[in-house]
């Protein structure tokens, strides 16, 4: 297990370095003179402003030099500073990460509870009308895009009952109830999408597990049906489901770009969108790197827990 863990952690290093390469090269790939593009929108095109910007973006240095500088900065926790606000990119992202993580965690709780429960029911009642209804609902849940659901949540209650979810964000310390009211809609949108995916996998793995010999043995021993399903079957069926849940972290962060933009939540997703609109490239780079590292770390955690839960994985 230790050997496997060490190998997996070591495997993270080249992946992280490659991500930094992509992020640094990205600036060079933008077609046209990006200094001109930025200056056009912001300042008059004097030479001094141009030189300052060139230096800040590192364009006055060779690509390898810039890479080493950037990587060294990231290693020290320094992601550069915003072109416009001059704030440190690291603290900008940290300041926004709270809401995004909060919504993500609530979405996972909602998604896992609903998805696993419905998936189990669907598997136990395989091929019944209920099973068909639940499966169709899940596929429908995957099919309706999150931005359409989010927009509908905002528009239709306003038309029918004259209530619109507040789009003015308040932090938890300012107004706890108001904060929860704002958080709940985006969490639901992300959570229901997650529930649909998890439901389908839970159903498949449950169907597989329910056919195993040890389930028949458990039944034969006269154990109550509910206990067989929850205690024997579900426990074993959940391993791949938990893996999928871990892998969905990336999906949740991607989805937060949409929900945060629709519900006006000042999280990382919205930070990214506004940074792109303002051509604030250091912020864009910082978000991509931090989100990428975060996803890599959760994937690693999932793999390790998987190996720990299921000894068959621990080859090596």
């Amino acid at each position: 297990m230790t050997k496997y863990a060490i190998r997996r952690v070591a495997g993270l290093v080249p992946t992280m370095l490659l991500l930094l390469v992509l992020v640094v090269v990205m600036i060079n790939l933008i077609p046209g003179d990006i200094i001109d593009l930025i200056l056009e929108e912001k300042y008059s095109k004097d030479d001094e402003a141009r030189q300052v910007l060139e230096h800040e973006l590192g364009l006055d240095r060779a690509l390898p030099v810039r890479y080493v500088e950037y990587a060294a900065g990231v290693f020290r926790g320094d992601f550069g500073q915003s072109l416009w606000t001059k704030q440190s990119v690291g603290s900008m992202i940290l300041g926004r990460a709270g809401v995004t993580i909060e919504i993500g965690v609530i979405a996972i709780l909602i998604g896992a509870t609903i998805g696993i429960a419905i998936g189990t029911i669907s598997a136990v009642r395989q091929d019944s009308t209920l099973d068909y209804a639940l499966r169709s609902a899940a596929i429908l849940g995957i099919s309706v895009p999150s931005f359409a659901i989010a927009t509908a949540i905002i528009v239709f209650p306003a038309i029918w009952w004259g209530v619109a979810p507040s789009l003015r964000y308040v932090s938890f310390s300012e107004d706890a109830i108001g904060h929860i009211k704002i958080i709940i809609a985006p969490s639901l949108v992300l959570g229901l999408g997650l529930a649909a995916t998890l439901m389908r996998l839970t159903r498949t793995t449950m169907l597989d597990v329910l056919r195993q010999d040890y389930i028949r043995t458990a039944h034969a021993k006269g154990i109550r049906e509910a206990k067989v399903i929850v205690g024997h079957a579900l426990k074993n069926a959940l391993i791949p489901v938990i893996t999928l849940l871990g892998l969905q972290i990336a999906f949740l962060i991607g989805g937060s770009v949409i929900t945060e933009s629709v519900f006006a939540i000042p999280g990382v997703g919205r930070l990214l969108l506004s940074a792109i609109a303002n051509r604030d490239y250091p912020v864009v780079q910082g978000v991509v790197v931090i989100v990428g590292f975060f996803v890599m770390a959760t994937n690693l955690a999932v793999d390790l827990s998987y190996a720990w839960l299921d000894p068959r994985i621990r080859y090596g």
């Binding site: 080249p14 169709s136 596929i139 931005f147 359409a148 927009t151 528009v155 306003a158 770009v257």
Partner: protein
């Protein structure tokens, strides 16, 4: 070839007795009986493809024509799905939007498949350092959430239909190559691959003649499952304003922020694109699921 003779002896009916048309028709009927939801998905897809192909002929109005006298008109017999803030007929824009959605879906699926097979196959077949590095690159790209990566690529490339297709194809090719690599690994220690090598077949021949045909079911399944995701990704990008640029109708773009201001007064602007998107992705997913059940040997007969 000897194997062909054996095949011919095995089949009880000589191949020329049933025509190709009759055979595929009966296969389709079997498919529909065993997978009713999959057949429903196939029908939805067929209708949408026909709509996209015949868009120019069947649109009741010019999808780009502004009509100041019919701004934000509700659904009626003359405008089935109502009109938008410029008086453009939403139903006509939905029909033309099917073309955007499907052409992105088809183009990306087709363009991504060749590099995906090439990368995955070569990586698994040759192994070693090249495989290790290539897989770390795949890890890297997969670690960035797809929407964030797509927006970043679109910012680099600039907005256009072609660039949406390029950005999505890049992402799909990388993701699919991982699956192709897995499928190839599973085949490498099969006896027929070993014997082909033992007989002295070149690497190229082993890959093209022995491995590619056998990963084809995986290719089809992965492509059909990915298709829905590609359509949703295009819609999401257009929704955020980084996808297909206006005035080209895109279902995602029709729900975008600038239109949302009018949606309180004109909720039908929201209904039609949502229904269209849900219907196409629902159809694709249902069809893809059924296709996977039929083509994936591990799942065959397990239900």
């Amino acid at each position: 070839m000897a194997s062909e003779q054996i095949q011919r002896q095995r089949t009880s009916v000589p191949p020329q007795a049933t025509s190709v048309v009759a055979r595929s028709w009966s296969q389709a009927r079997t498919f529909a009986r065993r997978k009713p939801l999959g057949a429903f998905g196939a029908i939805v897809l067929t209708v949408l493809v026909a709509m996209a192909a015949l868009a120019d002929v069947i649109v009741p109005y010019d999808p780009f024509a502004h009509d100041a006298s019919a701004e934000l008109a509700g659904p009626s017999l003359s405008h089935l799905a109502g009109t938008d803030q410029f008086g453009r007929d939403i139903f006509s824009r939905i029909i033309l939007g099917a073309r955007t959605s499907l052409s992105v879906g088809v183009a990306v699926t087709v363009i991504a498949i060749i590099p995906a097979i090439a990368l995955g196959l070569a990586s698994a077949y040759f192994g070693g350092w090249a495989d290790y590095l290539l897989q770390r690159l795949v890890d890297t790209i997969q670690s960035v959430p797809y929407l964030i990566m797509l927006i970043a690529i679109m910012v680099v490339l600039g907005p256009s239909l072609t660039n949406v297709i390029l950005a999505l194809s890049f992402r799909r090719a990388i993701v699919e190559s991982r699956v192709m690599r897995g499928a190839t690994m599973g085949l490498l220690n099969q006896t027929y691959v070993e014997s082909a090598r033992a007989v002295g077949a070149t690497d190229w021949r082993v890959m093209v003649r022995h491995i590619v045909p056998n990963i084809m079911p995986t290719v089809i399944v992965i492509a059909s499952i990915g298709f829905g995701g590609v359509i949703l990704a295009e819609a999401s990008l257009s929704f955020l304003g980084y996808g297909v640029p206006p005035p080209t109708p895109s279902w995602g773009g029709m729900l975008a922020a600038d239109g949302r201001a009018y949606m309180y007064a004109a909720p039908w602007m929201l209904v039609a694109p949502t229904v269209a998107l849900a219907l196409i992705v629902f159809g694709v997913n249902m069809f893809g699921d059924a296709l996977r059940d039929v083509l994936d040997p591990r799942l065959r007969g397990s239900r």
